[in-house]
Structure formats: structure tokens, C-alpha cells
């Protein structure tokens, strides 16, 4: 092991809301991207269905592109109208680790229903000098 590797010297965190409408049966929307030198520790993913219809929401880890791969789904929930679902929290966090060299990893969602969804995502950005 290299003695020059250091990591997690500084942790950043963000909370924000993403609002998006119907994205179709197979398309995904990117919530977050981990790059080879900057990974993401996702401590919570919260989804609010603002609409008056049910919404089926799939959370997945993507490897680029905008097509949902069924094998990449890590959580799925049917969210009733005006209801908040916690898709991930600190008890079951998500670590987005990009591959070195050059392959990003995306946290994405898909919803085949014509519902408005608000996402609140909290994560820590972990950067190192080795690219893991």
C-alpha cells in the first residue's frame, strides 16, 4: 500500500431538493455522481410524492446513460399521494464508489407514473489523492 494515500480529510455535505415529473418507463434521472477522485457517502434519500396519484419510484446505481437497468435497482417503493418515503437512511446508507480509472457511478431514479416527485438527498463528498 502506498504511504501517500490519504482520504476523507475533508467531508462536504449537501441537502437539496430535486423536482421532476414523469420520466417514462425506462428512463432515469441522475441525482448524484461519484467520480474516480470524489466518492459520495449518501446518508439519506427522501422522496415526496407531491401529486394526487400513486407513484412507483425505483432507486438505482447507474453506470452512465439514461436507461434503467433492472439489475441496478437498490430500492423500490409505491408512494401514495402527498406522502414522503425514506428510500435510504443512515441505517442503510449508500456508498457511491466510482471505478478507477474513469468510470463514474450515478445515483439515479425512475418513475413510470406521471407524478411530481421531490427528492431530498443528503450526502458527504469524500475526496482522496489516490482515486481509490
Amino acid at each position: 500500500m502506498s504511504t501517500n494515500i490519504y482520504w476523507a480529510h475533508e467531508v462536504k455535505s449537501y441537502t437539496y431538493v430535486v423536482k421532476n415529473n414523469f420520466v417514462g418507463s425506462s428512463n432515469v434521472v441522475t441525482l448524484l455522481t461519484a467520480t474516480p477522485n470524489s466518492n459520495r457517502f449518501v446518508s439519506s434519500v427522501i422522496c415526496l410524492n407531491v401529486s394526487n396519484i400513486d407513484a412507483e419510484v425505483s432507486l438505482a446505481i447507474g453506470t452512465g446513460g439514461n436507461t434503467l437497468a433492472l439489475s441496478n435497482i437498490i430500492n423500490r417503493a409505491m408512494i401514495p399521494p402527498k406522502t414522503t418515503a425514506i428510500l435510504s437512511d443512515l441505517q442503510s446508507p449508500i456508498y457511491l464508489q466510482a471505478q478507477n480509472p474513469g468510470a463514474n457511478r450515478d445515483l439515479v431514479f425512475n418513475s413510470p407514473d406521471n407524478a411530481q416527485l421531490n427528492f431530498t438527498v443528503t450526502y458527504h463528498e469524500i475526496t482522496d489523492n489516490s482515486g481509490f
Partner: protein
């Protein structure tokens, strides 16, 4: 010497409801100059108590000041004052709360971070980060009583008084 210290804290915010809808704010104050931050609030829990005489619908909206400009499909929050939170439907939570009941909005399993941030120029610094609670009377008729939002947090004070637009100083030490 660490460049930050942290202290626990809490706010019990009470809304006296006398009309069909009202709002209240948990604001994250800053002891700095405009466009700078002195620290970050790590919100540990949010609870909402309905002590009014009617069932209410409650919306909670966040303005964190920590939104990135990249790696996000659509960033809907932002702006230069808490007043901007009144626009749009950028809510994180919605609840129907019966009279006399309480909901646990979040706990330690889902912490949220808010940068203490003032956008406006001196001397009238005005916090523009925090949580907005909006409530609607769902039963009609005379609405009276109280809605209470209880927020507990840990506050990380940044001694370096960073000018960063991100959470510089959080969990970081000088060495």
C-alpha cells in the same frame, strides 16, 4: 487546535393559528458578514405537534444553502432570502395531522445540514437558510390553537469564518 467547535441546541417554534393557513420558520442565524458563513447546523430531529382544534395539512420546505451546482439534474432551491421559499412546491415532507397528534418528521437516522448564511448586505443581515413549515386547515370552520415545530440540532461554528459557498470547515481540522 480545531478550527471549529460544536454545541447542541434546540428551538421550539409555535404558530398561533387563527386563519386557514399560516407558516413559520426555523432560521439558521449567522454571526458573520454578508455572503459569508460562520458554521453549519446539523439538524438531528424535527417534530411537528398539532395542538389546534382542526386536522391540518403540513408542508415542510428546506433551504439549506448547501446546494451544489453540479451532479444534480434540477436544483430547485436557492435565492437570496427566506421569502423565496414561498414560491413553487419544493417541499420535502407533507403530512396530515389530526388535532392533538404529533408526527416525527425526521430523527438521527436522517440528519440534514443547513449552512448559516446571510445574503443581504450589512447592517440588515437576514438569514436565508432554514426550514419553512406551512399549514392548512383541512376541516374548515374556525381554526384556533397552536402548531409547534420542534427542531434539535448540533451547530458547528467555523472559527475561520470561511467565505466558501460550501460547508468549508465542517469536520475539518487544522494540522
Amino acid at each position: 487546535m480545531p478550527d471549529h467547535v460544536f454545541a447542541p441546541g434546540g428551538q421550539h417554534l409555535t404558530l398561533n393559528v387563527t386563519s386557514s393557513s399560516k407558516d413559520l420558520y426555523f432560521m439558521t442565524p449567522n454571526w458573520s458578514v454578508a455572503n459569508e458563513t460562520t458554521g453549519v447546523f446539523e439538524v438531528q430531529s424535527i417534530r411537528v405537534m398539532n395542538n389546534s382544534n382542526k386536522r391540518v395539512e403540513v408542508y415542510l420546505q428546506f433551504m439549506t444553502g448547501l446546494q451544489p451546482s453540479t451532479n444534480i439534474e434540477t436544483a430547485t432551491q436557492g435565492g437570496n432570502s427566506m421569502g423565496d421559499m414561498s414560491s413553487g412546491q419544493n417541499y420535502s415532507f407533507m403530512y396530515q395531522i389530526e388535532a392533538g397528534h404529533m408526527v416525527d418528521v425526521s430523527d438521527k437516522s436522517t440528519p440534514f445540514y443547513f449552512k448559516a448564511y446571510d445574503y443581504n448586505e450589512a447592517p440588515a443581515y437576514f438569514p436565508n437558510t432554514g426550514i419553512k413549515l406551512l399549514q392548512f386547515n383541512q376541516e374548515g370552520g374556525t381554526h384556533s390553537g397552536y402548531i409547534t415545530m420542534i427542531v434539535y440540532y448540533k451547530y458547528y461554528l467555523n472559527r475561520q469564518n470561511s467565505t466558501s459557498t460550501e460547508s468549508q470547515g465542517l469536520f475539518r481540522y487544522n494540522s
